[in-house]
Symmetry: D2
Subunit: 343 residues, 4 copies
């Protein structure tokens, strides 16, 4: 882009707190190329003094990681910290009037009890920020400055079933959802765990946290219910497989009464007709179709006479499941085209 | 082993028809090292004139592939052919009094209508052979000479749920099973399909044949019901992932009434107490735990108050899901220790 | 980018002939997002009627592939065809005054004898176009409209040694180069060969075409010599490994007389000081540092007293080794910033 | 095998010190199935109290890891410890008259200066044991009870070039060897390093320790020279790639004078005619041809008029490059068929 073009755009200043993890690196990549922002500071406690180019040479960025100590000079702050750390930092950023997008689970749950159960940490009822899933809550996001960015599994699952709960078909009622999701290993972060080493995970698959994964309550909450008094049965089995990026969710859904395939198709197409990153596809989707993109692909694979649905959803855990959705939320808050910097 | 030892063992002669595919290659490997058999002939239509060492140098075998034209000189025949081809060859082998183990789907289903629907081929009601799953049908297998070897997905799923149907707990009744299985790509055979190339499948996942996979009717049949008049809801979603070998099945089961975890654990341990290749494990299993072995690992990951179970089963699709189970069947028919050549 | 900005840019129309292969897909991706061009037509003989979104859903492009039958309506044509096919199509495009960038080997070699030997095809001495490696031939490229885009291995190797031949250090003379390069399997194109299937190539490595690879003569030519009367010994061993993208070249170089490490470092930094995509790195480079980028990383790993150098070069075979370099060439021809659409 | 057969075999008792790493696990697997030994104790400092089945369920072994504190009750001891630790333990085992096979580098080098330089540790000149490469030193191994097992890269490289140095062709003289070897990541052991995590190494390649790898001096020593006063130029570039097992070495060799391809072929076939695990192959070898076997495949890919050779060697780093070769050495010391338990 010529400098003339750059000059005529209003550039917001942006900083990332927790910039050295995989989500932080993807944020860095996206924001460096975003035409409406200028990436100011990259904060990363464990990498102070190192450069982005030391950890992620592919980003082509020579900025150094710094220690965050309360600065509020940027217009926008992204936080990509381990769970628990944002709880301390967000309040003062909000008070300073900053746009804040937090990628952790700290502010996702309204119910402190559920937070306590799934994150093993107490928090106050005020520690909640609007759930940044534009396809469900675009209106709320537009009115907010501080957003809690959804979890990766949660994004994949919620987007795959939301039309059944929040769509216009009042006759449809969900009785049960069985969800099996396979995630790329980058979902575990930049890790030094033996069980995530190449030698252990190549050509391997491993389920974990069956029925107790912390994304469960945010899925229920987004669908209008809770883990305490659920309006439908929900089983979630997360797995990691032999891939770096992507989440692939197989959603087995039982409805209260049978539905026609056409009716379901129409419901989904309608629900997502203004959602540029959701593609309701007629053919089977794959991880390869969505990695390195902000798309979430949804395929309605089967609708049976007994009222069961089989829906497959695929997205990139680091993009639509983290950094991409975060930038999408920023775009909406700033009043920009939702797709800016993401296509 | 010294020649003295070899001499004092009775050696059966064995041949493989369809020896050049991946299951055929695993049969070759197992039978070459089996102390009670001598591998005679390797038949492979498409590879006539080539040696095993050309296709599978790791096997360390210099035999040449030949054209099968009706020979019956071996004591035992394994057939590892594309579906449909064994239907023609098996009858004369059986008539000649041979031990026959067929790895295809041709003789698995009792009901010709189900066969027609799932294999798109007519067959007579006689075209059925005892289903060679030793953990369920050991007595029958011992009495037979001709066996139909189970499918890979079917093995993984049946073994994961069989105690609920065939175990001693009469109070347990299954209402629904949702099964999501990820298979290694070797399950598709030695393939020249673009969609199975490394560039397409590396770091990819792809579901296929949702609800219509041909292993469905054999699963139902082994569990004492059928796809036509099923005694429980069954959904099966097969996937291929970024791995060569292994099947990993996530089995969501809904019981008619709640059960205690201890009760289920006991049921499984009892059911498999004489099954040397089934390991009911207390901790999560992984593909890495079973590849290159004949084990099927089963982990009861969750038992809820509402009567839902989450069971994970893992096996090597080419071994317990094909060639290993075939050799296990042969051992049983011959009256040998079931584990011979498999540990 | 707002529509206002788009309007004030002159957009060139671009078409791709041979758009359905992996290089064609990368060209599609890059050109769709390039601010100075409009992607007009995608020609692909074998995919006529299919959409980009059928083959490459990640590109988010709904254009249909068409049959090329001599159209010349676009300003710029990229050809990404199997070797031999561009020979027929390029002349009329050139005659029509189009900007032509050919990604095949058809127009790379000046010497028809070498072309005959390595490509098994006769061609006339006129069938040569300026070799589009900007870091070596930027001046020539600026003056041309028709360019032959370098091969992927050739790019990796030439860039790794060029300063020794074309740099300012007249005292340095190369006696021998032993090059071992590992390529991602995408280098073989969208393939349906059994030996490139996932099951065959996962966790595998395979050398091929040892000493006879067709990129050999273009490497020699770019370095000012030829395979017929070489001014230095050259051995090239290409391999494919268990990865989709990237080329990693280990360059063992023997100089006529010893050199100091500092001298070599300076030579390289000088040679590439105006090359935005070449990074002479102080630490070891990896495939991960360059995939999905147009960078070529070069690391001088060792300089010994006996005059031997060990240089490692890494690039993405589909970007700096194909589509990325092609767009870089287009930018130069159009007088744009070389990096446009590539950062 | 029936118990009758077992009874009539003399069984040696064997223990492994350092049993919990990848080499230790492969030793466990091989020794459990070896007809002439009984696996007694598995010592592993870091895993005391854990079972083999916790770490390596695929081995199907329920033994617990113990703390080694000087026991000498077994007939045979394998040591698979981090470099430096065997130096302390071996002397008392030797003194107790045990058969000792050490898989570390501690006793490989005769020259304490070279050991100091490459292992950063002082050792006495006595700290040397016969180099256990049967194809070169079978006679010496037969006479010894304590053996130093070769390194994985060293095995791959030495076997690839040994006939040129130790064969019967006195006219052949090597001037230079440039070696580029790609290793599976298991070569780095059971690791918790971030840079060896799946997310970092999938689809990646990384060279390291260029020119300074500790296997260099043992290669030189086995070929009858040293790093201090080398009789030929030697460059070694190790790399890790996107695979768990295997080493693939590309050996560029410059001879003093040209040789005929036939002469080289004959030399290699002759040299290895009594070596059951070395296969001199007419066609290109691959990692897939040797993993999970004790074979080392060698292919003479090119012999040029200028006297340069291109030889490719492939083996499994954990078998012929570690545990398999260790068992082969044990077989030779015990007077058994070299292949026992390895085919």
């Amino acid at each position: 882009m010529t400098s003339f073009v750059s000059d005529c755009l209003k550039k917001y200043s942006v900083s990332i707190i927790g910039a050295s993890g995989y989500s932080g690196a993807e944020l860095t990549r996206l924001l460096l190329r975003h035409s409406n922002v200028e990436l100011k500071k990259l904060y990363a406690f464990s990498q102070v003094g190192n450069c982005v180019s030391d950890l992620y040479p592919a980003l082509g960025c020579d900025k150094a990681y710094q220690l965050y100590s309360g600065e509020t000079e940027s217009d926008i702050y992204f936080l990509a910290l381990p769970h628990g750390e944002a709880l301390q930092l967000v309040p003062s950023l909000v008070q300073a009037g900053k746009i804040v997008i937090d990628l952790s689970g700290d502010f996702r749950l309204k119910n402190p009890e559920e937070h306590k159960e799934f994150y093993k940490q107490a928090k106050s009822p005020e520690a909640f920020m609007t759930y940044g899933m534009p396809e469900l809550f675009r209106e709320e996001i537009m009115r907010e400055k501080a957003i809690s960015n959804p979890g990766c599994y949660a994004s994949s699952i919620i987007l795959g079933v939301a039309p059944l709960f929040l769509g216009t078909e009042s006759s449809i009622k969900v009785r049960a959802i069985n969800c099996t999701s396979t995630s790329g290993i980058s979902g575990a972060g930049r890790s030094n765990k033996t069980e995530l080493s190449f030698s252990e995970m190549s050509e391997n698959i491993r389920a974990y946290k069956v029925g107790v994964h912390q994304h469960t309550p945010e899925i229920m909450q987004a669908l209008g219910t809770s883990t305490k008094t659920p309006s439908f049965d929900f089983t979630f089995t997360p797995m990691i497989g032999s891939l770096v990026r992507g989440i692939y969710s197989i959603l087995n859904i039982q409805l209260d009464s049978p539905a026609e395939e056409e009716q379901i198709m129409k419901l989904y197409h309608n629900f997502y007709k203004h959602a540029p990153f959701i593609r309701v596809r007629d053919t089977m989707t794959e991880i390869k179709h969505v990695v390195y993109t902000n798309f979430c692909d949804i395929h309605i694979a089967r609708v049976t006479e007994s009222g069961s649905l089989l829906i497959v959803s695929a997205l990139d855990n680091l993009l639509k499941g983290a950094a991409g959705q975060a930038v999408q939320n920023m775009n909406i808050i700033l009043g920009l085209d939702e797709k800016t910097g993401l296509i």
